[in-house]
Amino acid sequence: MRLEDATILIVDDEPDLREIFSAWLECERCTVLTASNGMEALSILETTKVDVLLSDIRMPVMDGVELVREVFKRKLEVPSIIFVSGFGVVHLREMYGLGVEAMIEKPLTRKYLVQVLHDTLKEREELWLIPSARPVEEVELAMGSLAETEATCQFQMGKGGCCFTSDRPLTEATTIGLSIEFAGDGRKLKAQGAVRWFDDATSQAGVSFLYLDSSCRDWVIAGMRKWAYRSFIPECRCDTSDVSSGDAAQTIVGASIPR
């Protein structure tokens, strides 16, 4: 989708900022809506189709986090969400799970904001085309079928990444190579991604895709479209019993790639 065709909702309690962001986006000829808090934003979302939600986090009455929770809870059509954060602690795993795609920091320039919006509005086919030069780690896993792993939270797919049970600790904000063989489906995921979160307790990792190998690119994108995932990266939260049934996954020890 092109920026000029998009409807963008700006949520910020700072009038000056709303004014500035609106001015910038109107220059790009897109439709701009504004709200001063989450509550106002929610009422707009209930009535209007919005492509991108650009929201501040700390706001009176209803903050950004509460807003996306409500959107998720009310099963509203989830737009691409971009958090514009001043300073604050948010739970990344939850935020990505709720559909947040990116977080950008204040202060920010017009160019940067426009760039982010452009990327967000790109079709999937335009994404994940160029591999990273050298991931810091290669992870190779073997699992059952996709349906099975979905149910046991061993592997889940979101609209911008996946979560899975790793065979080793992973460092957040690093790039990894990921190779997962789904024996039940006769498919293999081959990708590169950025580690967005890692749970030491369960050894689960959340990864946003950076590159999809051509061998799997088609079925992955088709799947994303088919299943209309709401999460950007799923939380991979299942019942304890399901989590513990991780024996089904045969972990292939992948060769670490030296830096």
Binding site: E14, D16, I20, R58, P60, G86, F87, K106, L108
Partner: protein, 740 residues
């Protein structure tokens, strides 16, 4: 009547003499003959009866002497009786060959009787004289002593009943026997000489003087211990001797026993470790035992001296006591000191027979010396325990004070604790201290702990140990000063921590609050740069509007930063300066504004115009207000149901004493606090917030700050809402207190 006459005739016939030819009396008339027969028969009968009477008397009266002579007389009378009877018989039956010899026999008995009487006559003659005095004889008979009279040859001529029983001889056996009969066989020859000597000396004396014990020999050969008194009696026969003999066997035995007892007693007195000294009523020493002599370093020959002469150095106090014992006859117990010998004794003085006093005493000098040494040691120990700034006391199992040292009295500000109940003497001991002490008492396990005694504001370190017989000892040192310093250090630490906490709590909000204006400034400025870079002509209006926005937004940032700087400052060392209440309230609100607004809590302030400047450390009071606002925020956030507002009201009042005061009330819509919470609210580290919700130092620190300013911080209930009232004197009294 015939038959009777016939019978009489028959008797008469029977009695008719058959042959009367040989007796002239046959020629007597029958009446005469019957008279003769009757009188002879009567006389014969009387002879026999007299005999029986005599025998009966003799048998009953054992004391009648001369039995042989007596029996001769009896035989003689019987013989006379028989002779008379034969004369009657021969009237009818001429058995003269029978009567003749009987008369010869009678004659023989009469001659024998005569001889007998002749021989016994001297004795018999003597009897009537003595017996004449019947009382005298009775006296002799009943005398408790045996009485003998012995003639010059030694023949016993008088013996009483007691002599019979004493010697076992009958009186007849004694009378006429030689007195040597009664002398033990071994002594008989000597006795004869003594007897002769006595007779010649002719003076009364006690027999056997200088010869030891006298013994008499009984008939059965046994000997009795006797005392004998001898008295010469002059008679026609020469000098007789009366001997009064007393059986002293019993007395001897008693004497021997007594002697033995005395010996035992003496040896007891000599061997006992108790010293004994006895004086008579004239204070003459009658007895002192060996121990007494050796203890008092005197010879036993002081017996006979008076006590005063023998012991001139005796202390007057003791003499007074002894005199009292002598007078009152009541015993006395006392401790005596005899200076010349450095001798301490424990003494019992008892009244003694015959008005004297017996004194029993024993040496306790060693014991006293030990006690003195012990006392010195104790004093030394006590002096060690004193003046150490360590309070020491001991209580028994009933919590009664048994020992309290001077330091304890000083520290506890109490005197005369001995014998008093600890709990009653020191009420207000904290529950913890009470519990710990009771634990030591019951478990007998020592414990050491810090304690605080609120009534005296006394902080101590206690060391509690089990003590003999179920009590405990408590050693404690005053650590109030230490504690005070510790408290001050703690306050400082708490203050610092609190500032950090406040900073941390606000940092997110503040960063956001700064980043927002920075984003505005950044965006405005970069827009201008972009326009300029694109070569566009900027209108003055656009530039002005943009820059005004930048300036305005920058001011906002500066204001926030100033508040932050105030929060970060120590504040404690700043001078007391006049500060505007309105500004202080505004500044505090400024800092929390974002957080309040973000959480949808309404905050209002009511500060009337014309409030006076308050002399205070502005930063510190600002921190107090900030704390109160934080508390209100937390209270409202914690309650799901309450309204969401906070109101800050400033006002001025005059206290009762006429001191002008500033009041700042912080009222919030949170639920009223429970009494329990209110009680503890000002304590450090007390928090109503769940874990992680704050460390609860705000209020205690705030109160300390306000107190240091001479003001108060109270919790009030305002119509069901929580209200903290901060009161500050407008012209602060400088208080050097907690360095908060």
């Amino acid at each position: 009547m015939r038959p009777v006459a016939h019978q009489e005739a028959t008797v008469v016939e029977m009695l008719q003499p058959v042959q009367l030819q040989h007796d002239l009396s046959f020629l007597w008339k029958p009446q005469l003959r019957w008279l003769d027969v009757l009188s002879d028969s009567f006389i014969a009968l009387t002879y026999f009866l007299i005999t029986f009477a005599l025998i009966g008397i003799v048998r009953k009266r054992k004391d009648i002497p001369f039995n042989r002579a007596f029996f001769c007389v009896v035989g003689f009378i019987i013989a006379c009786g028989i002779t008379r009877a034969m004369q009657v018989v021969t009237l009818w039956f001429p058995i003269y060959w029978v009567s003749g010899p009987l008369e010869v026999l009678t004659a023989a008995i009469s001659i024998a009787t005569l001889v007998m009487l002749g021989r016994a006559s001297p004795s018999i003659l003597a009897i009537p004289d003595k017996m004449a005095d019947h009382k005298f004889s009775e006296l002799i008979e009943d005398a408790p002593d045996a009485i003998l009279e012995v003639d010059a040859k030694g023949t016993i001529i008088l013996a009483n009943q007691t002599a019979e029983t004493m010697f076992g001889y009958r009186r007849e056996e004694l009378l006429g026997s030689n007195v040597d009969l009664l002398v033990p066989v071994g002594n008989r020859s000597r006795h004869k000489d003594h007897r002769q000597g006595f007779v010649h000396s002719g003076t009364a004396r006690v027999m056997g003087q200088g010869m030891g014990d006298l013994y008499a020999r009984r008939k059965d050969g046994s000997e009795v211990s006797v005392e004998i008194g001898l008295n010469p009696v002059k008679t026609e026969d020469g000098i007789h001797t009366t001997a009064v003999i007393r059986d002293v066997t019993e007395r001897k035995r008693t004497e021997q026993q007594l002697e033995r007892t005395v010996v035992q007693l003496n040896s007891l007195l000599e061997s006992t470790t108790v010293c004994v000294l006895a004086v008579d009523s004239a204070w003459t020493i009658h007895y002192l035992n060996r121990n007494a002599a050796s203890l008092l370093s005197v010879d036993r020959d002081i017996q006979g001296m008076t006590l005063w002469d023998a012991f001139p150095a005796q202390l007057p106090e003791e003499r007074t006591i002894l005199r009292k014992v002598m007078e009152t006859r009541q015993p006395a117990w006392y401790e005596s000191f005899y200076p010349p010998l450095d001798l301490t004794t424990t003494v019992q003085a008892h009244p003694w027979e015959d008005g004297g006093v017996a004194v029993f005493f024993s040496d306790i000098s060693g014991q006293r010396r030990l006690e003195r040494e012990l006392e010195i040691a104790n004093r030394r120990a006590e002096s060690v325990l004193e003046n150490t700034n360590v309070g020491i006391f001991a209580v028994d199992r009933d919590w009664v004070f048994r020992y309290v040292n001077e330091d304890a009295k000083k520290l506890l500000k109490a005197r005369d604790l001995l014998g008093k109940d600890m709990w009653k003497s020191f009420p207000g001991m904290t529950a913890e201290t009470t519990e710990r002490m009771r634990q030591v008492m019951s478990t007998r396990t020592p414990a050491g702990f810090d304690s605080y005694y609120p009534p005296l504001d006394l902080s101590t370190h206690l060391s509690v140990n089990p003590w003999e017989e179920g009590g405990i000892t408590v050693c404690f040192s005053d650590i109030s000063e230490q504690k005070r310093m510790q408290r001050e250090l703690d306050w400082e630490r708490v203050m610092r921590e609190q500032r950090l906490e406040v900073l941390a709590r606000f940092s997110a909000g503040i960063a956001h609050e700064i980043k927002n204006p920075m984003a505005i400034i950044h965006a405005r400025a970069s827009d201008l740069v972009e326009l300029a870079a694109n070569g566009e002509v900027l209108s003055a209006a656009v530039v002005t509007r943009t820059c005004e926005s930048i300036v305005k937004t920058s001011d906002r940032v500066i204001r926030i930063l100033r508040g932050l700087a105030a929060l970060a400052r120590e504040g404690a060392n700043e001078p007391m300066l006049g500060a505007s209440p309105g500004e202080m309230v505004e500044q505090a609100i400024e800092l929390v504004q974002v957080r309040y607004r973000t959480n949808g809590i309404q905050i209002d302030s009511i500060v009337p115009d014309g409030l006076p400047l308050v002399e205070c450390r502005e930063v510190q009071i600002g921190q107090v207000l900030l704390n109160l606002l934080n508390n209100s925020f937390d209270a409202i956030e914690a309650s799901k149901t309450s309204e969401r507002w906070v109101r800050v009201e400033a006002s001025r009042v005059s206290s009762e004493e006429g001191v002008e005061q500033l009041l700042i009330d912080v009222v919030d819509s949170g639920p009223a606090l429970s009494t329990e919470v209110i009680e503890h609210l000002m304590e450090p580290f007390y928090t109503t917030k769940p874990f992680g919700g704050g460390i609860g130092i705000g209020l205690s620190v705030s109160r300390a700050i306000v107190t240091a300013h001479g003001g108060t911080l109270e919790l009030r209930d305002c119509h069901g809402h929580t209200c903290f009232r901060l009161t500050l004197p407008v012209n602060a009294v400088r208080v050097d207190g907690v360095a908060a």
